[in-house]
Symmetry: C2
Subunit: 153 residues, 2 copies
């Protein structure tokens, strides 16, 4: 469930840019999403936010996440339900999400986006489809777990 940190250019700034009021609660949620060391579901965001400011209400967190999602600043992922039915929220770094979810250690890796160009060209020419948001999720076995397994056998 751990994830690599992603470079990010100010969610708060973008929130302000689209006209959202920067309340204390929203600042907390935004910072949590920006600095998260793993993918967070709504409940986790709520718990962490509440730990910082006891008055933050669950409904506010849900409303904020929905707001951000509708504005396209954040995306909702399910990571193929590899570890439960929860939905996770992630700042939209671009319009592309690529996740490699290890079914063994539950680690989530986000590989380079290099191969995306090929794929895009292909979908556009072969299917006439113009992709806007793309999600690629693969469940499988990561390099580390493959080594562990072969060592064991």
């Amino acid at each position: 469930m751990t994830r690599r940190a992603l470079p990010n250019d100010g969610l708060l700034t973008r929130m302000k840019a689209v006209g959202l009021r920067l309340t204390g609660q929203r600042k907390i949620v935004a910072e949590l999403l920006e600095t998260a060391d793993e993918h967070l579901d709504a409940e986790s965001v709520y718990k962490r936010a509440k730990a910082r400011d006891g008055t933050v209400h669950r409904a506010t967190v849900y409303r904020t996440l929905n707001r951000l999602k509708k504005l396209g600043l954040v995306d909702e992922l399910d990571l193929m339900h590899v570890s439960g039915e929860r939905h996770y929220y992630e700042i939209r770094p671009s319009t592309l999400h690529i996740h490699l979810v290890c079914t063994s250690c539950k680690r989530v890796d986000e590989p380079s986006e290099a191969f995306w160009d090929d794929l895009k060209r292909r979908v556009e020419s072969e299917n006439g489809f113009r992709p806007e948001v793309v999600r690629i999720e693969m469940a499988g076995v990561c390099a580390a777990c493959q080594r562990t397994r072969s060592r064991r056998s």
Copy 2:
């Protein structure tokens, strides 16, 4: 929301193969999934099943779908929540799901799997990741809607 029909080699047979009891209710659910003209969420499966046999209970449908999901015979998709928060169930044709979801007409297209080979080779060599189940979802504008839009403007 419409989808192309996919060739399929007997969900019931595979259910039997893994040792599931073929009850009347499960036969109905299996046939619904096999012949569905669109992606079905749990509630839709339930409603359709109930229409065929009034005694089918919602809990049974949920249990069956979960069972099939855990056995890997069926996959759960959210189609990027383009048309709601529902989760859809689809027979696993292989281990690969590619969906192009049109944000305009909500149509879901399933393109050829040709480009998957490149992607797979890449993830394996560059990330050392061995993919087992793959889901590629793209939200965007389909060819037809692009034409409609340009005609309008």
